[in-house]
Amino acid sequence: MSGFEVRRHDNGDVSILHLKGFLDAHTAPQFEHALQELVSENRVKIVVSMSDLDYISSAGLGVFMGFIEEIREKDGDIKLSSMSEKVFKVFDLLGFPSLYEIFDDESAALAKFNETN
């Protein structure tokens, strides 16, 4: 299976995580680790950018589920951006759009965070 990579980029009090490659049961722990790190630093305004994400499995989706409650309790949020059509279909099928805000690009997601500040 192809590899997976998470890159973090801090922008003010918002952190952006760029996902790349295949997010499945094998690579989900990497993503989990990245989110855990942000939460432990109390950086709870998170944009997950998926422009380079090729595939996401249910285990990958589960990672969002594992953190969202805690993050929202801390007045933060996970906003999703820049999904390919294929990845969006997966999110859509499961009904994520009704639970998460999804944006076409990072700047829109960032703007949304800054707007509420």
Partner: protein
């Protein structure tokens, strides 16, 4: 070795009989001046036969066939002592005297005749085994030419015996022309004896202690053997038999050279004995360690053995090993010698810590040969007065990763020589191998357990699925292919209401046992709900309410609940994040994917779930086809990462919709297999095909 007792007994009989014969004749000759022509030669011949017979008798005896060095040396000394005791004893009793003629000297008294016979007898009986014992020592480390030299030496000895009889001259080195042959033969013999005398490599392998004690013994031995000829054989044996006299004479040369060279070799080995001893110990202990590592997988025992061996070989005072703890990621003391583990663990010694850091960073051994009472590392001396020098070596695993540190200290300054440090490093390396072995074993055990767990999960999953399709006026086919690891597909049929068939299809996120548990739970919940309810929306809402609290935060379940009223030909269903339903309409000849709103079970506590969930109701006609599936089918992936997709599924259903439902299923299977082209499925795949009648 094969022994043949009967000829040996005959040989012994010959020895005694012939010995008595020659003895009797000697007595007779002395007392009656009997002269029997050619008796001298016959006598020599008989004595030669006695010698050979005795050799034949004794050569296979256990006594002379020992391979143990110590035993051989002991036996040799015993034989030598016996020879002296025998000789000196009889000398006291018989006080022999000889007529001083040229050669051989004739006995003066009857007692002397008896004496010479007794000594000759002893010479044969005791010297032959002595030579055999030396032969064992020579062959301790046989070289290519050892056997040749031995044969040559034996040949020269036999020749010497022959010439002595023929020329009736003693074997002496002399420039006198008269004695030229004897001198040549003796010279040749001595050369071969000298060559053989250098074959004493058995000395090399003795321990230091033995080398010292044997050296002292050998000095005495050389002296005793040097005297042996004069004291024992000289004129005595020659008076009875020249053959035996020549034999004892030459044997004496040989024994003297061998013991002399042996003694010198001991002397030369003394300075290196300690080093050699040490090297032997090192090799042995590394060998032993290698075996222990291959057989022992208990980490605690292993580190203990390694520290013990380190202490034994490099003779360190305190020895301990620190290993990285998997859980904490810190170094922790795993085994100690001469020092309390707790004391080391609780100690916060800056200098010691510094040494550790140095070893880890450089990945090389580190040693201080003299720890001053002040200055750097004085901390260590302050902690333990008897640490005068300290050495530490890293446990380097694969990829040069430091797995731990092996420490050793000595109470004398400059206590570690380069050999010690090399050994410390060698032990550290062995310890690293051992640690890695243990980890590998552990991992493979974990792997095995996981696989067994997965197998159980798969079995549970398969048992949860319906074993046969329900008996309804619809044509039904199901297909389930489980992927190796990820599992969680589930489907079920219900017939709780007349003219209605309930279908549930779902996918539990996660894998292995947890997925199987959720699946079982879901099946139970839905089974009980469908008894009362028929409305898919109500069933799903209730399911979400029941399951949301028991589900792990990371887990969710996609579910699709359908109700087919086959009398009215109406399908109503609701979808909780699950794949859509494919509907082939015969009339329109097209496939529609019906995807009403709805989010997966477990994603939301309730309000959003209910808000999003839609009921979809369609009517169908005869020969319409309905397909329910999981994302394992639509997301089946080929080598290039392309997904099978819903379009392909729709197309196959449309193309084969006229066929029987089995054929439709086969076509879908073939299409997927063709698409995968040998790639493995990465998720379970489930398909339910319903053809309406």
């Amino acid at each position: 070795m094969k022994t043949n007792p009967i000829p040996e007994k005959i040989a012994l009989f010959f020895v005694i009989l012939l010995g008595l014969l020659t003895f009797a004749f000697d007595i007779l000759q002395f007392s009656s001046s009997l002269d029997f022509s050619q008796w001298e030669y016959l006598n020599e011949g008989i004595n030669f036969v006695i010698l050979i017979s005795y050799y034949y008798y004794i050569r296979h005896k256990k006594f002379v066939n020992q391979s143990d060095i110590q035993l051989n040396l002991k036996n040799f000394i015993k034989l030598l002592a016996l020879l002296y005791i025998w000789t000196l004893g009889w000398k006291q009793i018989l006080s022999p005297s000889f007529v001083t003629t040229d050669f051989p000297k004739a006995p003066d008294t009857i007692g002397t005749v008896v004496y010479s016979n007794l000594i000759t007898f002893a010479a044969i009986v005791l010297v032959v085994p002595m030579l055999l014992i030396i032969k064992n020592l020579i062959f301790y480390k046989q070289k290519n030419r050892t056997r040749i030299y031995l044969t040559l030496a034996l040949g020269a000895t036999l020749l010497g015996m022959l010439t002595t009889v023929v020329f009736r001259q003693p074997l002496d080195l002399s420039s006198d022309r008269e004695y030229i042959y004897q001198s040549l033969v003796l010279g040749a013999s001595i050369i071969f004896y000298l060559i053989l005398a250098t074959h004493n490599s058995w000395i090399t392998y003795l321990s230091r202690k033995m080398k010292y004690s044997y050296f002292l013994i050998s000095i005495g031995l050389v002296w005793v053997i040097a005297l042996m000829f004069d004291v024992i054989f000289k004129e005595t044996v020659a008076a009875h038999s020249l053959v035996v006299a020549a034999f004892t004479n030459l044997s004496w040369y040989f024994l003297f050279f061998y013991t002399l060279f042996g003694s010198l070799t001991f002397l030369f080995h003394l300075p290196t004995a300690r080093v050699f001893d040490r090297k032997m110990k090192e090799v042995q202990s590394l060998h032993h360690l290698g075996r222990v590592i291959a057989a022992e997988f208990d980490l605690n025992k292993l580190v203990k053995i390694i520290t013990e061996m380190t202490k034994d070989v490099i003779e360190s005072k305190y020895t301990w090993i620190e290993v990285y703890d998997d859980q904490t990621g810190h170094l922790s003391v795993a085994a100690t010698i001469n020092i309390d583990k707790r004391e080391l663990k609780s100690m916060d010694n800056h200098a010691l810590h510094e040494i550790g850091v140095r070893v880890i960073e450089s990945k090389k051994r580190f040693s201080i040969n003299s720890i001053a009472k002040s200055g750097a590392y004085a901390d260590i001396r302050a902690w333990k007065k008897d640490i005068a020098c300290i050495a530490a070596a890293p446990l380097l695993g694969a990829n040069d990763q430091v797995l731990g540190i092996l420490y050793a200290t000595k109470s004398v300054e400059f206590g570690f020589d380069p050999d010690d440090l090399n050994m410390l490093e060698a032990y550290a390396n062995q310890a690293a191998i051992a640690l890695e072995n243990v980890k590998l074993i552990k991992n493979s055990l974990v792997q095995e357990r996981l696989e067994r767990e997965l197998q159980i999960a798969r079995d549970v999953q398969m048992r949860l699925l319906p074993q046969k399709v329900p008996d309804v006026p619809l044509k039904l086919e199901t297909l389930t292919i489980t992927a190796y690891e990820v599992g969680g597909d589930y489907y079920d049929f219900y017939q709780n209401h007349p003219h209605h068939l309930g279908i549930v299809i779902g996918d539990v996120s996660g894998k292995g046992t947890s997925a199987a548990f959720y699946m079982a739970e879901t099946k139970g919940v839905i089974q009980s709900l469908t008894r009362e309810q028929r409305n898919p929306v109500e069933i799903l809402e209730a399911t979400n309410l029941i399951l949301r609290d028991s589900l792990e935060r990371k887990s969710f379940i996609t579910l699709l609940v359908a109700d087919i009223d086959y009398k009215k030909r109406v399908l109503s269903f609701a979808r909780a994040g699950h794949c859509p339903v494919a509907h082939y309409s015969r009339r329109r000849d097209e496939v529609a994917f019906l995807q009403p709103g709805g989010i997966a079970v477990g994603l939301d506590k309730g309000p959003i779930f209910s808000k999003m969930l839609e009921l979809k109701k369609i009517s169908f006609e005869k020969d319409d086809v309905l397909a329910f599936f999981t994302d394992g089918l639509s997301e089946a992936m080929d080598a290039r990462g392309e997904e099978f997709g819903e379009e392909r599924l729709g197309e196959i259903i449309r193309e084969s919709a006229q066929e029987d439902v089995e054929v439709i299923k086969d076509n879908v299977i073939n299409a997927i297999l063709g698409f995968l082209q040998g790639q493995n499925l990465h998720d379970d795949l489930t398909l339910i095909i319903v053809k309406c009648t």
